[in-house]
Symmetry: C2
Subunit: 393 residues, 2 copies
């Protein structure tokens, strides 16, 4: 089950012909109400794509009636023509669903610096509009089709659901293949709920949930120009959700989708969880874990099943003192449960570490406080280089 799991939503996925592959490449998720409350989190990249610039305007009143997503082109750095394409797409959706174009979010993914074919886009929107008028548009099958339509290099659709005993449901779909991300199309996520919550409550819950889930997936350190995570509430359950309980369930759903994204990084042969313990603050724990997650030497070593803990400490050492407190010679490192380094000196023989499983755990103890955090990443492989060099994407 996916975005159609909660009551009050319809979804459709069609082939607009934007993808060279000829597969499904356009999806619409419609909020049938009674509420049209929403929250979004956009990429923090200063170079934002036209769909982001448009969607930021849509969010000014926290109202969203529908979201349209296309693969086959990022519509980024395409100037005023590109922005007009995004605007026209929203207008086409508005006409199909009889809503205001100012309440239609737009997401695009693909190559940067190329114009999208507006004719194909609008024709695809019409086809999706027809599908959305069918009662089957609220079925699990329709949700799956939408999840398939936003796939790029993903090998499988990514869906998740959380059901509350209180009587409300959250559903979600995601696309993105982490470090494979050709054209930087790293992540698009649509989350729906039939809980009764205000846009402000949705915003607070979404920021807290993404902060500890999607924000901590760092496959290759590259930040997309198009990343969007959206949360739409229909209120169709009629149940006022407890914000704290909702945030907890939303965080679980986001973590589920985050790990699905990490696990589908096709170029990767290992899913690496880098956990920093006993940091002075959670922020410093994230800084340290992120530094290791971005070391090509460390990531290549993991690919080679080489528990090269020296590369972990070398990466940690690059962090300025102002950004993280630790004694460089007081750090412990454990890889897959084997403590290979204690207080900056060799401990257990590295030969004891088994890196053949896909799941890898790296635990770094800074002995500098009581805070901790985990960053999820992947290894640096031949397939990563191939995916990101062989195709102009």
């Amino acid at each position: 089950m996916s975005v159609t799991a909660p009551a009050g939503f319809a979804a459709a996925g069609v082939t607009a012909g934007l993808k060279k592959s000829g597969g499904l490449d356009l999806a619409i998720v419609a909020n049938l109400g009674p509420l049209a409350n929403a929250a979004t989190v956009f990429t923090s990249n200063r170079c934002k794509a036209n769909p982001i610039l448009w969607s930021q305007q849509v969010m000014s009143d926290g109202r969203v009636s529908a979201i349209v997503l296309n693969s086959g082109g990022a519509n980024c750095y395409t100037g005023s023509i590109g922005f007009q394409t995004t605007h026209a797409t929203a207008e086409a959706v508005a006409e199909q669903l009889q809503v205001s174009s100012g309440d239609v979010l737009v997401c695009s993914t693909g190559l940067i610096g190329e114009q999208l074919d507006l004719g194909k886009l609008t024709a695809g929107v019409v086809d999706a509009g027809v599908a959305l008028k069918d009662t089957a548009a609220s079925s699990a099958a329709a949700g799956l089709t939408a999840a398939q339509a936003i796939m790029t290099t993903d090998t499988r659709p990514k869906q998740a659901t959380q059901v509350s005993p209180a009587g409300w449901t959250i559903g979600g779909m995601a696309k993105g293949a982490g470090m494979l991300a050709p054209g930087l199309a790293t992540m698009l996520v649509v989350i729906t709920t039939d809980a009764v919550l205000s846009s402000a409550q949705l915003d607070a819950a979404l920021r807290e949930a993404t902060r500890v889930t999607f924000d901590r997936l760092d496959s290759d350190g590259c930040m997309s120009t198009n990343d969007t995570v959206s949360l739409l509430a229909s209120g169709a359950s009629g149940v006022d959700a407890d914000p704290a309980e909702f945030t907890t369930a939303l965080t679980k759903l986001c973590r589920d989708l985050t790990l699905q994204l990490q696990g589908d990084a096709e170029g990767a042969s290992h899913d690496v969880a880098i956990s920093v313990r006993n940091a002075a603050s959670e922020t410093e724990a994230v800084t340290v874990a992120r530094a290791v997650s971005r070391s090509n030497l460390f990531k290549a070593a993991i690919y080679g099943n080489d528990p090269n803990w020296g590369r972990v400490l070398a990466a940690v050492g690059t962090i300025p003192e102002a950004d993280a407190a630790f004694d460089p010679y007081g750090i412990d490192v454990a890889i897959n449960g084997i403590q290979v380094c204690t207080a900056g000196e060799p401990d257990q023989p590295r030969e004891l570490v088994d890196l053949t499983p896909r799941a890898v755990s790296v635990v770094i103890d800074l002995h500098a406080g009581t805070a901790g955090a985990t960053i999820w990443t992947n290894d640096l492989t031949h397939d990563y280089v191939e995916e990101n060099s062989a195709y102009s994407s």
Copy 2:
């Protein structure tokens, strides 16, 4: 010609048996005087190897009589035993050359977290000591042997010379294969001169020269725990050098060695010069160029001969506003002379860009000021992944 080009220096390279390959792996450069002035620049990594901790003490008085370098082991994160190994190595050199061990710099390169064999080290020092007593130790051949002894994955020794009409000479040798750096042993550099300069003058000249040369080589964004650039002055020319003229010549020599390091990054198929123009400050220009040089997606695209300028802008966009001033939609990008992006919109067709040559030029115009800077990097290739994953190094 190399470190023996200036008068007053002797060099030797021997096989101590530290390298599994069995090649030359220990070098000594001796300053025969009359002066023993010196300056050094060490890695800014907070996780410093034992030879760095030792050499920092040696530099407290700015006097250096000799430097000993070994490959086959970094002696980093080897605790007090490792520090004793470094100390004992300096003592052995001091005994051979009849100098104070407190005036002997030590450099090591190789795998982190493994103890060096002190017996092999001291035996190698004795062999080198014998060679240094031969008059041939001041020959170009001896300098070449020393340059060969510090090679790790380098395919060729790296040497450079600058001769001043004023009557003094600078010679230098370097090791490091940029992004191939197994065990993070990225760079060791020894520079010699017979000019008459104080340690303070040498320090000022070396910091200015390295700031715009070695510090701007960023092959894979990974910072070594062992990097050391040392400058030794014998004063044997008897000529008081003009500090400004010396700094200019030293900078030329350092740039020469920097480009040799970039060009010998075996895993690389392209040498990429990323130049940022019209930045608000030189620091901001470096920040922007470095961000692009660390984008795996950009580097993989270059490997694939794909002029993917969107990946350049996406990398630039990740920089916080506090770190670099620019209008994300006012940036120009040229690749190998073809202006593919003007003011954030497509300009010349990317198909016009020829990326088949090894040398690649990326010019980013921020239109935010008048400062500029260049970062030298390489592409991300299959060979890079292979070199850094297939061997436990």
